[in-house]
Amino acid sequence: MFPSPHRRPLGRLALGVLAATATIAALAGCGSAGNADDGTTEITLSMQNPDVESADPATWAIVEAFEEANPDISVTVSGEAVSEHLQKLSIAAQSDTLPDVFWVYKSTAEEMQQAGKLLDLAPVLDELELTDSFPESTVANFSAGDVIYGVPYQGLLTGLWVNEKILADNGLDVPVTFDDLVNVAETLSAKGITTISNGANQSSFSVWSFLVDLDRFGYEEKVDGILDGSEQYVNDDFLRLYEHIAELRDAGAFSSNVSTQTYQQAVDQFTSGNAAMLDAGVWASSAIQDSQIAADTGFWIGPQFDDGVGEQHIVMNVASAPFAVSATVAADEQKLEAVKKFLSFYYSDEAQQIIVDNGQPPVTTYEPVVDAQAQSALKAALDASTAEGVTSPQSQPDLLVPTPVANAMYDSIYGVIQNQLTPEQALELVQKALDAEQ
């Protein structure tokens, strides 16, 4: 009744199940590979790019140079996109399986530090005599009391890249004041050209130039009060700034698809000559250098406001997200030594020049060699940041507040740009996030 042809495949299936179960057991048994005991020490470095070699050539080159100089240490570089990276770190921190050295946002590092997950780097920096190699604000930025929980990874030098040819073709100069900027937007918008290229899709953080503007409306003096509740984010000074953003929007400064465009698309829009300015930072210099508009590109620190608060001649030139070191490293003497050697190398002049060669500013006080021709974009940014009379805030505004508040700040700015929020609503959005943190 039941012919054998029907039976065989199922007999095979049954065997398959058995085999598969056995395989699971075997696979579970083989465990993670331990350190190869050939005298080399392994340290793990976890980054915010899945393909570090192509996306972050500076770090990759430093690691290669470091391994060459220290054949007894191997650095295992891994990485994933920012959101997965943070996810993974947060889960790993809770299970004490953090990588040895890793890139992390400052606010996350602070929380990790409070939870005792990070190595205090103050004694390490002292021992390596590195403390003085950094600008003062950098160390202050990553300190909690006497504890230093992070060291600078790369510089955060932000502003507006300007395609001077587009401006000149339309009879415009590089703006200085906010009114100049509105004028540029109106002129270009009439001709269908985007003035400021940016994109909110998956990159709501891409509002760097407006974060500098917050500092041009007294953010630095207000932030402590805002955080302890004695002052409000909803205040007349910030309101003026947000109204200016609305003015820019109404002048047609932004791309019509700013909501669906990603930051990468915004860069592309600029480098392909379809926008007059790009809201970004020095990390974009390589992409600009590789494009046809390299020769026409300048760097503008941003507008001066005649109704602003405090110093208007400022540029954002601070340390970006830091490297942190897992507290578990201290338990392994050899590993700790290797990490120290790595840090010492990273902040050596040799490594800092590697950073510069890859289109990033140095994070130490090292004076780099920049090729005016082959690195014209980087040079323009560095020159703008060191120009006579220009100062920098201590930190970028979003880095001083808890993560949900920072995200609300981005949303508030893009909300006005996308005409989703009135300036008042935008301020209240941030205030609500602040209140929730109390």
Binding site: H6, P50, I91
Partner: protein, 304 residues
Amino acid sequence: MSAHLIDAAIEPASEFALAEPPAQPPRRRRGRSVALFAGAAAYLVTFLIVLPILWIVLLSFQPSGNILSNPFSFDQLTIDNYVRAGTALPLLQMYGNTILIALVSVTVGTAISFMAAFALTRMIFRRRGTQSSLRFYLLAGLAVPVYILLFPVYRLDLALGIFGTYAALILPYVAVSIPFNTLLLTGFLREFPGEIEEAAIIDGAGLWRLCTSVVLPLMRPVIATIVIFNIVYVFNEFPFASILINDPDMVTVSLAVSRFQGQYTVDYGGMMAAATLVLLPQLVIYAIFQRHVIAGMTVGAVKG
């Protein structure tokens, strides 16, 4: 092709018998035009559905810069993206890992789900209520978004000492497939008449033989469907893979595409090429397995 369309016109059941002889000529013509229309509609719908896929394949041959600024130009097609994907991705290793994980998890998942589904639909429980509550218990898993599981599963893998092994990924994959498998298997088992099995039982077949020799062959279309979906799931699963894989030697193909997304850079060309490379093997797998979906038809016909 036209000959086949005429075949198709003869095929529909409505052609076999006609209520009244006078109606015959118009009916036949109508049947033929319906079939022609249906055939044309099938081609059209298929074309529309496939269009966006052709689109990625096409984009994968565009220079990266063109994809955003000028995606409709066809004069600079290049294989650069594939070269980049080939160098940036350990493709063979990725496929190897994925196939291993898929084989084990799909085999185990399908087998244990089938056993449970058989018990829940065909075996007689002392209390009926237990049977249906168990079914609902398993089905409840369908409503669970994967992000709720990530952190606890990570901890569980650590606690079980399997973190860093393939089992760390296989076990959650098996678990997550159970609700889906159960839904399909119990649903179809309930829809499917039990007479053949009753005959087998009267013939004295034991549980094992009943399952493997009688029910399983009849369920082949469903099993094939489940296998296809589970394989696709493993090939595309991203959240678990990104959290539970630490060792660069263990990466799966589902991580391939994200390789091209950096903090401030996205390589759209590389992404498209990687996507195509992940997609094609799956289409082949589907083409192979869907024959079994159809094979079920013949089994049913023989029994009928």
